[in-house]
Symmetry: C2
């Protein structure tokens, strides 16, 4: 299986954001939607072996983990606005979750109240962890295991403490 | 230089489309915007050596050729809605163009009334022409010349006559 984890440090966790202003008041929600779209959609199909987890850390109820599973996803289209509307449904359903709880949102979509660090630690036990970094090794030279988990920062980059955690987990 | 040509056979050529309904009434304008975004934007920068040409063939004034040049583009952001709003400006400025005419739209954006076939023929004289096809040769095995022009169909695919033209041009 192939998994992606995206950390979106400014993207809102309130469902009250405006679908007409994804880059601005929603805290670069457009970027999150593009990542999901590019991870899952291929021409006329979905990558059925791929899951993407997005950790939203913006106001007002962080952290929230929204997961899209290509195997089970139904009736979602690849445009930013449609993906954003499903994230909004997820944030509405998950607004009052307590730490560790999760909720079903839509076929193939789940929400949980969970931190980036806890998710990365869990995945390091079962998958080859890869952290994408502009100064890293060329991805074309990396040999992939059967289970791969690829970690992405957003446009701001990872905080230093978090990079140290990834180092310790040998990402 | 790297160039892309996208043929969007259903995407509208009227500027009166709704920014809130890019996939539907605008004839998969979302797909066009994603292609432009993926062709030109990289993390925190633009591909300065890349141009993408989109041929719109939907109602009511086809064909229209909108070109985005990474070298000169200013103040455009990579989200679908923002790119679509610039295409709308282009279609407004180019609404009454006659065949062969072109107009300046915005730094890095131009519109012309010109057909896909005429553009492809011109490019075949100066660039290595590559036609992306699901049954084609693996792109990783292709050696690129300095000037490459990559031709893409939309979700419907190229008409047969057009594939024959590309064959004749040795794409």
């Amino acid at each position: 299986m192939r998994e992606f984890i995206l950390r979106a440090s400014k993207t809102v966790t309130t469902p009250r954001f405006n679908l007409n202003d994804l880059p601005g008041s929603a805290g670069r929600m457009d970027l999150v939607c593009r990542c999901i779209s590019n991870a899952l959609w291929i021409s006329n199909d979905l990558r059925r072996d791929t899951v993407i987890h997005v950790v939203l850390e913006g106001p007002d109820r962080p952290p929230k983990l929204v997961s899209f599973n290509g195997k089970e996803l139904r009736n979602v289209s690849p445009d930013e606005r449609n993906i954003a509307s499903h994230i909004r449904i997820a944030l509405r359903k998950g607004y009052n979750l307590k730490l560790g709880e999760k909720a079903f949102v839509w076929p193939g979509i789940e929400i949980a109240k969970r931190s980036f660090e806890s998710l990365v630690k869990e995945k390091s036990g079962t998958s080859q962890l890869i952290y994408l970094h502009p100064k890293g090794k060329d991805i074309r030279e990396v040999e992939f295991d059967e289970n791969v988990c690829i970690v992405l920062g957003d446009y701001i980059g990872m905080p230093r403490a978090c990079e140290r955690l990834l180092e310790r987990l040998k990402a």
